[in-house]
């Protein structure tokens, strides 16, 4: 049975449409125009126990809103969801003891106190038996290499160290489901890598179910076998990372290394030339034409080396986003609710 199942989940906000200018602002005092923002529309999804699923999408796509709905922090406008057999927004204690949410841009630890004091508070709130608390804390602090920092006030920690503490706080009660909202945002490459490695290890070891949102393709490539692309509040794709390329990219890239003294002239007859840095030439052509194209090129040019690649994932996804937002399919521009 699926551990997370979502059916036709929707969330829309009514937001006050601000007008520019003083006069309009004054008029806004008694006559207000509202519009509906559909942060999440008709999302259906099913996640099995032990899956590590990535939510991918541009800013304001509805990723965070979906995680907040599943955490029970906000109520949906329609549809249903079930996590571990609970309806999240009923916010039953039994449910709240079994999952955790980590948000890369917000912190829950007491700013002026050492992280261990906040952890002790969690011990009380979740009523973690002392020996399990001790064991989990030791294990997590070892894995993240922060044993020595537990006694230092949180405000003195670096961003990366703070994120590690946030992760510990979220995992002390051994949640079975973990929601991660951009856990590596703003971190340097080394810190990002450390967090990825930790998450991968921990997830495999404990077999917990994780939903992750991130803008870093590296996070997703390193961690998730399954990717859900969400844009304008709706699911555009659900499958493997390589599946995205297969489905959304109609082109492939040919990298040629020409033999010495061979000119690149005339190659644009076969495919669009991306770059020429002799002896290297990069071409792009339609996927179905690749074989034909290669044969013709090899016939007419002397080639030292050749490689065929898929376009970079970032590019495919950026195009996926663009196609969608320029399509004008939805009238309301979706965004996070304005405050």
């Amino acid at each position: 049975m699926a551990i997370i199942s979502i059916e036709n989940l929707s969330k829309s906000y009514r937001v006050y449409q601000k007008q520019e200018g003083l006069l309009a602002a004054v008029r806004g005092l008694w006559h207000r125009e509202y519009r509906d923002v559909h942060a999440v529309r008709d999302v259906s999804l099913s996640v099995e126990q032990g899956e590590f699923v990535a939510f991918l999408g541009p800013n304001g796509a509805g990723k965070t809103t979906t995680l907040k709905l599943l955490s029970g922090v906000i109520y949906p406008s329609g549809g249903s969801a079930n996590v571990l057999g609970y309806v999240p927004w009923k916010r039953e204690n039994e449910y709240r003891r079994r999952f955790a949410l980590v948000m890369g841009q917000k912190n829950q630890l007491w700013w002026d106190l050492p992280a261990q004091e906040s952890f002790r508070l969690h011990e009380q709130i979740y009523r973690i038996p002392p020996e399990i608390f001790r064991h989990n804390l030791d294990e997590l602090a070892d894995l993240l290499a922060v044993q020595k920092l537990l006694g230092r006030p949180v405000r003195e920690l670096s961003l990366g160290e703070r994120m590690k503490m946030e992760l510990i706080a979220a995992l002390l009660h051994s949640p079975e489901v973990l929601f991660l909202d951009e856990p590596t945002i703003g971190l340097d490459v080394v810190a990002q890598h450390n967090i990825q490695r930790f998450l991968k290890y921990y997830q495999e070891r404990r077999k917990i179910t994780i939903l992750l949102t991130s803008h870093y393709m590296k996070d997703i490539a390193a961690l998730c076998k399954r990717v859900v692309v969400i844009n304008d509040g709706a699911i555009q794709f659900d499958g493997s990372l390589s599946g995205i390329v297969d489905q959304f990219s109609s082109t492939q890239i040919l990298r040629l290394q020409l033999a010495e003294g061979v000119s690149a002239e005339g190659l644009d007859r076969f495919a669009s030339v991306e770059s020429v840095e002799l002896p290297k030439v990069t071409l792009r052509c339609n996927r179905q034409d690749v074989t034909r194209m290669l044969a013709s090129i090899l016939k007419q040019y002397e080639v030292a080396d050749i490689a065929v690649e898929d376009p970079p994932l970032e590019e495919v996804i950026a195009r996926l986003y663009e196609d969608h937002s320029s399509g004008g399919k939805y009238e309301a521009k979706t965004g996070e609710p304005s405050k």
Partner: protein
């Protein structure tokens, strides 16, 4: 991983007392990290209170009581003032900083974390920090009451004497007063959910509670009467200090026949206020949007 899932499936809820003690402990640790700040806070609130005493000492040089035949002479009034301090000190130490933060949490989306915890959200929001320095006035209020009562007990004419039950009833009604003020505060702060921003919270709070700082006799005439009705039955801030203070100071001897109904009404008002605060809080959470990340 033998321990996996173990915690999630236990049915026991959190131990609220231990959670509260951890809050109190963490707050103390933090206060001690900034000791100078702690000292300045304590001293400044003590100084403010002492100046208040000075002001009323001057006033009582020109008048013998607040209003004619109300029974609120100098020491009776100081008992009243001491009660005000005690109640305010408790509210400020345990609730004020938290509820002030509640408005911010709503605006910034920080409420998310509180809502994730397997514990009553209103409890968590209301008590997460303790402002220890505010308790200085609790001490000062107790001293002022003790001193004034000793003066009343040794005065000529009708020396002050009390049934022992008062020593039980006084703390009880102090707590009732705290509960009423707390409920009012939660209701005011929760409006931030609908207003998006509520910066006048403190001003409004100050205006309303100002009415509670004087004996209710001053509202007995003319324009005072609608105020009396509004602040007793609509927003019951008048009973907050008046009821416990009257028990102790006994301004009227013999007691007027409306004293006991008033005391009973206070209990009723307390229960109603707390229930109202829970209702408003729940409604607020239902409308909570959470700020974007």
């Amino acid at each position: 991983m033998a321990d996996n899932n173990q915690i999630g499936q236990t049915k026991i809820g959190p131990n609220y007392l231990r959670v509260f003690l951890t809050f109190a402990r963490n707050s103390l640790v933090r206060d001690m990290m900034f000791r100078t700040n702690f000292l300045i806070e304590s001293v400044s609130s003590l100084a403010w209170s002492s100046m208040n005493v000075g002001l009323y000492l001057i006033i009582f040089q020109y008048a013998t009581s607040i209003g004619d035949a109300t029974g609120w002479g100098k020491y009776e009034f100081f008992v009243f003032m001491g009660t005000t301090w005690i109640i305010n000190a408790i509210v400020q130490a345990f609730f004020m900083p938290n509820i002030e933060e509640f408005s911010d949490l709503i605006r910034t989306g920080g409420l998310d974390f509180a809502m994730l915890k397997p514990i009553d959200t209103q409890f968590l929001i209301s008590l997460r920090k303790v402002s220890w320095s505010s308790l200085a006035n609790l001490l000062l209020g107790s001293v002022l009451i003790g001193f004034s009562i000793s003066q009343l007990a040794t005065r000529q004419g009708t020396p002050w004497s009390l049934p022992p039950s008062v020593f039980l009833l006084f703390p009880m009604y102090v707590l009732c007063g705290v509960a009423i003020l707390y409920s009012l505060m939660i209701c005011l702060a929760a409006t931030s959910v609908w207003l998006g921003r509520n910066q006048t919270l403190y001003d409004f709070w100050f205006y309303i509670t100002n009415f509670s700082r004087y004996p209710m006799e001053i509202y007995a005439r003319g324009w005072g009467i609608p105020l009396f009705v509004a602040f007793t039955f609509l927003i019951p801030v008048l009973v907050v200090v008046n009821v416990p203070a009257r028990l102790l100071a006994q301004p009227l001897a013999p007691k007027a026949n409306w004293e006991w109904p008033l005391a009973l009404f206070t209990l009723f008002a307390t229960v109603l206020s707390v229930l109202a605060s829970r209702w408003v809080f729940r409604k607020a959470l239902l409308s909570y949007r959470s700020a974007s990340s």
